[in-house]
């Protein structure tokens, strides 16, 4: 029997920790948001070393950006260590940034259509950046002219 307050039906109160129900939709079937949240933290810790190291080497260490050019890149990418570093940084930063922007879009784009298309644009651009970037690292040719 429904509980009443002064004769009116009281709103149902869910038991604590009952699964979140999407308005008009089925309840979440996966823990995707939990893993996305965890990924932001794990990739963040890795990016701390990869990105700050990259900025230090490229902008500050002997001569900074002034010494960068094709020859500099060829010298660095001769080593599998730096190719691995750059590939890892590319993939982690792009996935981290994409998930971050997904949150931002979900926060500000209120119309379902707008949300959907902004996220499609985001995912297509992320796919392009990861594909192009890794292709460049894997197929780099120091003797190109």
């Amino acid at each position: 029997m429904a509980t009443t307050i002064n004769g009116a039906a009281a709103p149902a109160i869910e038991t604590p920790r009952s699964p979140r129900r999407r308005p008009g939709g089925p309840k979440a079937r996966t823990n995707f948001e939990l893993y996305a949240w965890l990924f932001m933290r794990i990739s963040g810790v890795l990016l701390l070393f990869l990105v700050l190291g990259h900025l230090f080497i490229m902008n500050i260490l002997d001569g900074g950006v002034q010494r960068i050019g094709f020859g500099f890149v060829a010298g660095r990418w001769a080593s599998p260590f730096w190719r691995t570093w750059d590939l890892l940084m590319l993939v982690l930063a792009e996935l981290h940034g994409t998930n971050g922007l997904r949150t931002v879009i979900n926060d500000y784009a209120e119309r379902a259509q707008t949300r959907f298309w902004l996220k499609m644009l985001l995912y297509v651009s992320a796919g392009l950046v990861i594909t192009l970037g890794s292709l460049v690292i894997f197929t780099f040719d120091p003797n190109i002219s």
Binding site: R41, L55, G64, F70, S125, T139, I144
Partner: protein
Amino acid sequence: MPKAPAGTLYRGREGMWSWVAHRITGVLIFFFLFAHVLDTALVRVSPSSYDSVIATYKNPIVNLMEVGLVAAVVFHALNGIRITLIDFWKSGPRFQRQMLYTEIVVWLVLVVPGAFFMLKHMFETLFGSAS
């Protein structure tokens, strides 16, 4: 008039403003990354086309913007560690404010000398100092 709720971890004051700065810097870095992967991809086209985009980074105005980008990345990185500590360290939420002030000190310690060296390289190239 009901009294405004006292600031919580994410409402008002340090907690909220650090979140705002984290969001703005994150979005800024994301768009720069997009451009940066495209410019680096020119190494696959020809040495001269790569060298000509890199020349824009060596322009003093762009170099100044690059100093700003480095400052934004360092803030986002340090604040990301603070967020992770708030979430996983049991005293994290209690010390979130102290961690923010520590972070600002560490940020200054990294960014001020960093900016100095970035600008030093720029001036040396501009005015041809021997080094």
